[in-house]
Amino acid sequence: MRNILLDGFLRRPLTEDLPPDPELAALGARLDAESRRKLGRSLAIREIDAGSCNGCELEINALATAFYDLERFGLRFVASPRHADVLLVTGPVTHAMREALERTYRATPSPKWVIAAGDCAVGCGVYANSPACVGSVAAVIPVDIHIDGCPPTPVRLLQGLLALLASPRAR
């Protein structure tokens, strides 16, 4: 273990700079100044799988690795919607998850923001027209930012999350 830790000290950090994404930044800029002021530079995020295939979750989990290190931006995942500023929702919302999603939204204190991540969450993806799905996330709860991709890459997810933050430096 000592060797592995020592390696970590001696090697250059693996964490990479984030390329800017004007499109997603513009989405964030549309949020009113008031929301941005309230959010400040730190976000507590609660992830909800509303019926995804798990591909989106894999990439969301990758955000915590040393390469992406989302905590450097003041972003962190929390275990309860009661602690969250932002709900990050994936999947076409299934009938079975609808109530759980609505209840999680209600359990999140205001002010709150919702990000729909992945083609399924944005517009149902290949699950459009499925009799077992209610529809996109926006069909169930209000959505502030959509991040497309199947699944969205970790870089794109980070750009989308940072679009919510006020400080240009953080972005």
């Binding site: 592995i4 019926g51 995804s52 798990n54 990758a62 690795t65 309860s80 299934t94 993806g125």
Partner: protein
């Protein structure tokens, strides 16, 4: 005559079902097959329905067969009545196809949640309390509900309720074109997108009677092994993390990320989604691909052994994993549990070796099997499989020869694809990182999918998790659950 030929001989063979035979049998043979399953003479691979038919796929040794029974009114003799691994499959058949397995001991809905409250099985006794968890969990994982009944800290009973991610997969597949079907198949369980796309493609190719070019077979194997590596890295790290040993998670996450970035360099997509397609692969290696794989394998060679020795030499970590969530061999044999979960409990089945397909039929590799059956054995099994996958990737690259990577339209026709393609059926079993994925399909007169069934390995793993946690403490559930790493989406369809 051994069991499978006898079973098939008692029925009417179906004209085009490849690569294994299918026969329509009567109620007597159907019930006899169910008894053989219960006696352990056969292993259940799948059980599914469609309008007026029930189908059952079984395994005996290295042979597979499908038997079907006509049930014009949807009623047929339940298999779950004598063989419990079939119960959830039959509950799903009731939900999805309105069938009535006569004698099924548990008729509660399974995949399709109605408005009515769900009746969890009653547990009675002194001083018991219940803990209900999910469907929204504390971590970033898929949704499901777990109902624990505990005596103090000890779990007396766990009942899982699944179906939260039911997306109507089979309803969408019916009537879809082969190309759209492949897209859907690659999105049934995102962590196994290659395994699913491969199983779907192989089933479609079997129905059409075509074989893909050798280079395509190799590239498919390459993607499948990269997928196995990425997932095994993720799982080993995550299991250790659930025992509070976070350095393994962060280190293995780096290896996992290295695998995904290699995929981008080789195939252009982190998870290799939509690259395996019916007829071959959508694109050949990118120019920098082979160099990227070489660099990745060198990185694994350098870092992986150190992490394994860290696992091996950390007593406080082993204290949590050894003896936890033990699954005896009888259970995995009865349930036909595939993947690391089955092999860590002594069931020697790996579709790559037991029912070989390209490119594995030309490769040399071992199928590690362990007897322990606990969390520790499931970690070690994955560790061993990493070694085999690395060796397989090297062999596959050595075997790569120039050539086409996809069938031309004429090749499909030569297989009889268009002329009289209607009613042709194909089936495939592909070893994903989690176990054997089964896909069965029939092509309709219009060349579209008339019926497609997919069976995730998790169907025969989830029930054992409930049994494995019995007598363990609640705090060890995440550890057990992660060591199983069953799919929700793949199971919920």
């Amino acid at each position: 005559m051994s069991d499978l030929p006898r079973l098939l001989a008692s029925g009417e063979p179906v004209p085009h079902h490849a690569p294994w035979p299918r026969a329509v049998v009567g109620a007597d043979a159907w019930e006899e097959a169910a008894r053989w399953l219960a006696e352990g003479r056969l292993t259940l691979l799948g059980l599914w329905g469609e309008a007026a038919w029930a189908h059952m796929a079984v395994l005996a040794g290295g042979d597979v067969a499908v038997v079907s029974i006509a049930c014009p009114d949807g009623r047929y003799p339940s298999v779950g009545r004598v063989h419990s691994p079939a119960i959830r499959l039959e509950r799903a058949m009731r939900d999805l196809y309105g069938m009535e397995p006569v004698g099924l001991p548990d008729t509660r809905p399974w995949l399709v949640h109605g408005a009515a409250p769900y009746d969890f099985l009653p547990v009675t006794g002194d001083d018991l309390h219940e803990i209900a968890v999910g469907p929204v969990h504390a971590g970033i994982i898929e949704p499901g509900h777990f109902r624990f009944t505990c005596d103090g800290e000890t779990v007396v009973r766990l009942e899982a309720r699944l179906g939260y991610t039911h997306k109507g997969v089979e309803a969408l597949l019916a009537g879809a074109s082969i190309a759209d079907g492949a897209k859907i198949a690659g999105r049934i369980s995102g962590d196994s997108t290659v395994a699913y796309a491969l199983a779907f493609a192989r089933a479609a190719e079997a129905a059409a009677g075509v074989d893909v070019p050798a280079r395509a077979g190799c590239l498919r194997g390459l993607m499948a092994e990269m997928e196995r590596l990425a997932n095994h890295f993720g799982d080993i790290g995550a299991i250790c993390n659930d025992a509070g040993f976070a350095i393994m998670l962060s280190q293995f996450a780096l290896l996992r990320e290295a695998a995904l970035r290699t995929n981008v360099a080789v195939f252009g997509h982190r998870l290799c989604q939509d690259i395996v397609c019916p007829g071959g692969v959508a694109a050949d290696l990118l120019p920098a691909g082979l160099a990227a794989i070489g660099a990745f394998l060198a990185e694994v060679d350098g870092r992986f052994p150190r992490l394994v020795s860290l696992y091996d030499r950390t007593a406080s970590l082993q204290d949590r994993t050894v003896g936890t969530g033990r699954v005896p061999r009888e259970w995995v044999m009865q349930f036909g549990t595939g993947g690391p979960n089955g092999r860590a409990s002594g069931r020697e089945f790996d579709a790559r070796a037991s029912l070989p397909y390209a490119p594995y039929d030309r490769m040399r590799f071992a199928v590690p099997v362990l007897a322990g059956g606990d969390v520790d054995a499931r970690v070690w099994l994955r560790i061993r499989e990493v070694g085999e996958s690395v060796s397989l990737i090297r062999q596959i690259i050595a075997a790569l020869e120039p050539g086409p990577v996809r069938l031309a339209d004429d090749d499909w026709k030569a297989g009889g694809w268009q002329a009289g393609a209607a009613g042709r059926e194909g089936m495939a079993l592909v070893e994903g990182f989690r176990g054997d994925v089964l896909v069965w399909l029939r092509i309709g007169a219009d060349g579209r999918i008339s019926r497609c069934h997919v069976r995730d390995p998790s169907w025969f793993q989830w029930p054992l998790l409930e049994a494995a946690i019995h007598g363990n403490i609640v705090a060890d559930f995440p550890l057990c659950n992660k060591s199983f790493n069953c799919s929700y989406s793949g199971h919920d369809l």
